[in-house]
């Protein structure tokens, strides 16, 4: 049973990791906790649902469609709700603006779709593979593989391309980067686009895996993903992946071996412990305060 639960945890954790990546990328560059990120994930899930059920597209095409849709959604949100505030006020004002966007988006979806949970259509026949005592479903394998591919892709994008280089420069020092001729606004826009696309991928996969989407699914997922990003060390991309996987596994093992009624308390309790022992998160860099 332990290995089965471990696989359950890794699957859940990989969806957390995909959402956490968006948080961490945005944070790394403009130090904003983008609270609307959970809602982008929700919109991604619904966009995927629309493409699969109404247009009858293949699930992988729908996945890409939802990612593209959320890219634009993320850029639009940044343009409307964050850019006008940037540089004019404290980060907290931007945080409130993000909360406003989050309330707006989830209510909007509730008005469009109703507050009921909607079933995600079955996209394929699910095979179960028996490996010794372990039952592994084909869906779990697909989710793990797709998330791994997306994360590797992201790593390549950031390490090998020009825009990735620009992003790294901006995250080190936004001002200095723009003095070096980098169009910081554009880099921020791209960061939102990439983060949102990853969240959308997470949304579609969660929809496929659990067969259910609903307008308020983003709130708790967003919170957990933020926790994952902080656990891994916010601003660090490998940190978000490790944080997501750790949180997912901890949560599932907490239910399996401790108590399911204290599930969230266990996850957050461990998070607090880790942060007290290692204040910069698992992969975060220790920053010395300067005057």
């Amino acid at each position: 049973m332990f290995i089965e639960q471990l696989v359950n945890g890794l699957t859940l954790g990989s969806t957390y990791a995909l959402i956490a990546l968006g948080y961490t990328m945005v944070y790394g560059i403009i130090q904003l906790i983008n609270f609307a990120h959970g809602e982008i994930y929700m919109f991604g899930a619904f966009a995927g649902l629309l493409l699969v059920s109404v247009f009858g597209l293949n699930i992988f095409v729908a996945l890409i469609g939802a990612m593209v849709f959320c890219m634009f959604l993320g850029m639009l949100i940044e343009r409307i709700a964050y850019r006008p505030i940037r540089g004019k006020s404290s980060r907290l004002s931007a945080l409130i603006s993000a909360i406003g966007v989050s309330i707006f988006l989830s209510t909007l979806m509730a008005l469009i779709r109703g507050t009921n949970t909607t079933r995600y259509p079955e996209i394929m026949k699910i095979h179960t593979y028996h490996l010794g005592s372990l039952d592994l479903s084909s869906l779990q394998i697909i989710i793990l593989v797709v998330s791994a591919l997306l994360m590797v892709g992201l790593q390549l994008l950031i390490q090998k391309t020009r825009i990735g280089k620009a992003m790294r420069a901006c995250s080190q020092d936004l001002e200095a980067a723009s003095l070096m001729g980098i169009n910081a606004n554009r880099v921020i826009s791209y960061t939102f686009a990439i983060g949102s696309a990853l969240a959308a991928a997470g949304g579609v996969m969660v929809g496929v895996y659990y067969n259910a989407v609903w307008p308020y699914m983003g709130t708790m997922a967003g919170l957990k993903a933020f926790a994952a990003a902080v656990l891994g060390g916010i601003g660090s991309i490998p940190g978000a992946m490790i944080g997501g996987l750790t949180l997912g596994v901890l949560e599932i093992l907490g239910v399996a071996y401790l108590s399911s009624s204290y599930k969230d308390a266990i996850a957050f309790g461990i998070l607090i412990l880790v942060l007290i022992l290692r204040p910069q998160g698992i992969m975060g860099k220790k920053i010395t305060k300067k005057v």
């Binding site: 359950n8 308020y216 399911s260 969230d264």
Partner: protein, 397 residues
């Protein structure tokens, strides 16, 4: 010294200003003492209590639809005692302070004669207290836990009480079906569920069954993989789930994915069209629940209701729409019996209600002002439709 004084003066001024803003708001208020609606107007108002947005809205919205339909029908047939009826629908988001504000608004601004709702026990208690203080009748359509009608003689409920129904169902499971090992899953953040679980557990123990697994989930979650993996290895004959239909369907989906057989038994919170829509093949003949009414072998009243509801909203009604619908008609009946639309008068008739043939079952208000509904139908899902499995009598003591 003088600047300090001025500062205090400014403080007082600020307070006065703030108060005057509100006093200005309150200016248009009409006379609260005038409770006799009969004299003041032609329309009588009923207040709706329930959530229209937020995470519990899918229990409030069907209720609102049922209530709207009942009011429309009544108005088309001449109203109550020749008064037209108007529903007032405010969204309480399932929130404590919201419902408290709304109940006060209904009573003092809208001057309702009765309130219908809320589906949740806790919220009903908040509204019930306010209703009792202001002498307005509240008829809850869904609050099943204790502590509701005890508030006072203006507080009623029209719902199938778990303390009567659940033991009958447990008896059926153990003696008719021969299931002895039970797994119980509770929805931790749902009052209905945490209230129902002990009722089931006591009945299981009293009938000699074993509880092999106790587990819990939260509302609005979708990941139940860990719980279901535990269930798979627990060796239970049957799963008792005390929450609502959405989570039940998702649990059964996961059971199907993990490839094992399990029957889920639950309360009337499972009665919702989404159960079949979300679960599809996973819930087919695998979910059994008890309920006061069934759409499969309906009485004449129920059949008419089902047809009208489908025609109006183009969807299947759930338990809440039936109970809100009934509640409005019960209020109509007692107002007509009392020949008065004054809550002080018709509340006495409501306390005497006997064998009212509603669409959600026959209702009698017992001597302790608790509703008794009998018989209880056991319902399962066949071909995506609710189908009656058995009718079991309820033993009221």
């Amino acid at each position: 010294m003088s600047s300090k004084l001025k500062f205090r003066l400014a403080l007082v001024l600020c307070c006065v200003m703030m108060m005057s803003i509100f006093a200005g708001c309150g200016g248009e208020k009409s006379d609260v003492d005038d409770q006799s609606i009969q004299a003041s107007g032609e329309v009588i108002k009923l207040g709706f209590l329930g959530a229209l947005t937020g995470s519990v809205a899918n229990y409030g919205i069907p209720g609102k639809k049922g209530m709207e339909m009942a009011i429309e029908e009544i108005n088309a047939n001449g109203g109550i005692l020749r008064h037209q009826v108007e529903g007032v629908y405010d969204d309480n988001k399932g929130d404590n302070s919201e419902i408290s504000a709304i109940a006060r608004k209904y009573i003092t601004r809208d001057k309702v004669v009765a309130m219908v709702g809320d589906p949740c026990t806790g919220l009903t208690q908040v509204a019930g207290k306010i209703a009792q203080e202001n002498e307005v009748v509240i008829l809850s359509a869904g609050a099943t836990s204790p502590g509701v009608v005890e508030i006072g003689d203006y507080v009623f409920r029209n719902t199938l009480l778990d303390k009567f129904a659940a033991p009958a169902v447990v008896d059926w499971m153990i003696n008719d079906k021969g299931w002895t090992d039970f797994a119980v899953i509770t929805c931790m953040d749902l009052g209905y569920s945490t209230g129902l679980t002990p009722v089931f557990e006591e009945a299981i123990e009293a009938n000699g069954g074993n509880i092999v697994l106790e587990d819990s989930i939260n509302q609005g979650e979708t990941d139940f993989t860990a719980q279901v993996t535990k269930l798979k290895n627990a060796g239970a004959d049957v799963l008792v789930f005390t929450g609502y239909y959405t989570e039940a369907a998702l649990i059964m989906n996961e059971v199907q994915k993990q490839n094992f057989d399990m029957v889920l038994v639950g309360g009337d919170g499972l009665y919702g069209p989404d159960l079949a829509a979300l679960g599809q093949s996973a819930v087919e003949e695998k979910v059994i629940f008890y309920c006061g009414f069934s759409s499969d072998q309906p009485s004449d009243e129920t059949a008419a209701f089902l047809e009208a509801y489908r025609a109006k909203y183009n969807e299947e009604p759930d338990m809440f729409s039936a109970q809100y619908y009934d509640a409005v008609y019960i209020l109509k009946k007692v107002m007509e019996d009392a020949n008065s639309v004054d809550p002080k008068v018709f509340k006495n008739e409501l306390a005497k209600l006997t064998d009212y043939p509603g669409v959600s079952g026959n209702t009698t208000i017992g001597p302790d002002r608790e509703p008794i509904k009998s018989p209880v139908c056991l319902i399962t899902i066949k071909d995506g439709q609710f189908a009656i499995l058995e009718k079991i009598p309820v033993n009221v003591e």
